[in-house]
Structure formats: C-alpha cells, structure tokens
Symmetry: D2
Subunit: 116 residues, 4 copies
C-alpha cells in the first residue's frame, strides 16, 4: 500500500481518537457514511445533462473534489478498520474484471458481464 495512503489513514485514526469517535466507527456505520457521501457526490451531477458533466467550471470541480474526498476518507477509514489494503484490493478486482469483460466481447457494449 502507498506510503501516502498509510499516512492519511494514520491521520484519520488520530482524528477519530482525539474526538473519541471510535465508538461510532463500526464498519457498518462507516459503510452507511460512505454510501451517504457517494449520494452527496452524485447530487452535484443530478440535473446536469450527461455531456455537460464533462465540462465542470472551477467552482463545480472544487465542490465535487470535496465530496469525492469525503467518500475516499470513509473508504480509507473502513479499509483500515477491516485490515483491507485498498490498492491491493483494487488491483485484484481490476484483474477479475478483465476476465469478466473480455475486450473482444465487451467492446462498445454497456451490458453486464452476465449478459455478454
């Protein structure tokens, strides 16, 4: 796992300890929080036409960056609690996806792998 990620996780742990928040931070609650933050991120795109979402102005991009950060912070906190290495898990999942979605079958299609 990257040093930077380990440093953010250490900072998150200190942050929670200083506020005595460990009691609230069960994996279940953190998964709830992650899901709520993902919805807040989505809210910024709610009424944007698809193509327009490719061209955010600076203000929008900064607000989106903050929400994306909230999702990532909860994800790193949850991974830390569960002893999951998030980058290693991402690499493994990407390898799994490559076998689920062979390039020649999946090209240009948005179908689920079960329907390819």
């Amino acid at each position: 796992m990257g040093t930077e990620i380990r440093e953010i996780q250490a900072a998150l742990r200190r942050f929670a300890d200083e506020r005595d928040w460990g009691q609230f931070h069960t994996p279940k609650n953190l998964a709830i929080s992650l899901s709520i933050e993902a919805a807040e991120l989505l809210e910024h795109f709610q009424w944007l036409p698809d193509e327009q979402s490719r061209h955010l102005d600076d203000g929008q991009r900064e607000r989106v960056a903050h929400e994306l950060a909230d999702v990532l912070l909860y994800l790193l906190l949850l991974a830390d609690k569960l002893g999951i290495d998030p980058l290693e898990a991402a690499r493994q999942k990407l390898a799994i996806n490559a076998t689920k979605y062979p390039a020649d079958k999946a090209r240009g299609s948005s179908r689920k792998y079960t329907e390819l």
Copy 2:
C-alpha cells in the same frame, strides 16, 4: 499523488480504451456507478448487528474487499476524468474537517458540525 494510484488510473484508462467504454464514462455516469457500488458494499452490512460488523469472517471480509475495490476503482476513474488528485483532495478535506470539528467540542459526540 502516489505512483501506485497513477498506475491504477493508467490501467483503468487502458481497460476502458480497449473496450471502447469512454463513450459511457461521463462524469455523471461514473458518479452514478460509484453510488451504486457504495450501496452494494453497504448490502454486506445490511442485517448485521453493529458490533458484529467489527468481526467479519474471512469470506465476508473478502467479499467486502471486492466491493470496496469497486467503489475505489470508480472513484479513481472519476477523479482521473475530472483532473482531481484524490489524495491531495483527501488531505485538504481532512484539514477542513479539523476546523469544522474542533476536538474539544466534538469529543464523544456524533452531532453534525452545524449543531456543535
């Protein structure tokens, strides 16, 4: 941004290019996907009592790791599309949170910063 993260983002870009998926990957659609994957992660905790969620068995932990990876992969893809450095954004947001939730006021409380 960490080298490892940049490598995963490069792999995601290749993955999407080989499948001609760029057309589907508008930021709006990626934010939708991220939100759906967050709900799939939450599903593993849906009926677990809070305390029990601290003690997953190996099978549960592996399934959770895969879902967490899906969330992270969409997050990295979205960040890449929008030119957001996810780790830098996380560090900035953590600093903002520290001022929103001063340790002495927030200790032992799960209130929102607007109600501290």
Copy 3:
C-alpha cells in the same frame, strides 16, 4: 391514508411476523434497505442516455417496476414502524416545496431553493 396502502402494510406485517423478521426490522436497518433498493432501481438507468430512459421496452419497464416496488415496500414498512402516514407526509412536503420553489422564480431552473 388510503385503504389500499393500509392493506399492503398489514400484509407486510403478517409477512414479517410469519418469518420472525421483526428482530431485523429496526428503522435503521429498514432505512439502509430502502437506500440499497433505490440503488438497484438506479442500476437499470446507469448507462442509458437520458433521453433513452424515457422509452423503456416492456422487459425494462417490468424490471424497473419490480425495483420500484421494493423501494415502496420498504418505505411502507418503515412508515408503519414509525407511525408516519406516508400520503399525509407527501402532501405536506409538496406544500412545503411549493413555498420553497415559487413558480415564477423556479421556472425552467434546476437550481436548489437556496440558490434561487
């Protein structure tokens, strides 16, 4: 509240009682389930271009109807547990929204009421 809704809620109560599921059906867990079902509903629109989502074929419409039903069932179960009349709450909220979004200010705009 409509008779039909009360009948569905009574059926849901019997359904849960026969399976001894009351122990799992805390309002918190039901709110989680509702959120997960909403994401499953959204999944059907995930990769559809906006305009295309106005023209579902019969198969898509039936799958969407099933997911929409799941959301509604959890909503009615949660309302029942909390003693909330869902139709009365909907009428009240619609009246509140009418004052938040005056027709002349909100016309043709997708802005949040705080930014009108």
Copy 4:
C-alpha cells in the same frame, strides 16, 4: 391504484408543469433523485444505535417524515412517467417475495433467498 395516490401524482404533474421542469424529469434523473433522497433519509439514522432508532423523539420523527415524503414523491413521479401503477407493482412484488422466502425456510434468518 388509490384515488389519493392519483391525486398526489396529478398535483406533482401540475407542480412540474408550472415550473417547466419536465425537461429535467427524465426517468434517469428521477431515479437519481430518488436515490439521493433515500440517502438523506438514511442520514438521520447514520450514527444511531440500532435499538435507539426504534425510539425517535418528535423532532426526529418529523424530520424523518419529511425525507420519507421526498422519497415517495420522486417514486410517484417516476411511476407516473413510466406508466407503472405503484400499488399494483408492490402487491405483485410481495407475492413474488412470498415464494422466494417460504416462511418455514426463512424463519428467523436474514439470509438472501439465494442462500436459504
């Protein structure tokens, strides 16, 4: 479908027409909104211990009722757009669930029907 529900749907249609919001109300966007509102409902339970969520005070219950109403309003609007009768769909889904989860097999278990 209940008369009351049809009246709320008619009011929602008028509400949207008066504000010229039909352009934003594609089924895809409404499914996004429903999902976001479900997360806002969940937010009220985010840090509550499971059992405590059974005993909301009056203020909490009112806030929850408003969020539940928002979910229901988007659900009714989406159903209206797609020509789905929500109560009929709910009754059908409940019948399907009864065959997926036979009382004798599902009693006291929170397992998914695929694992019963």
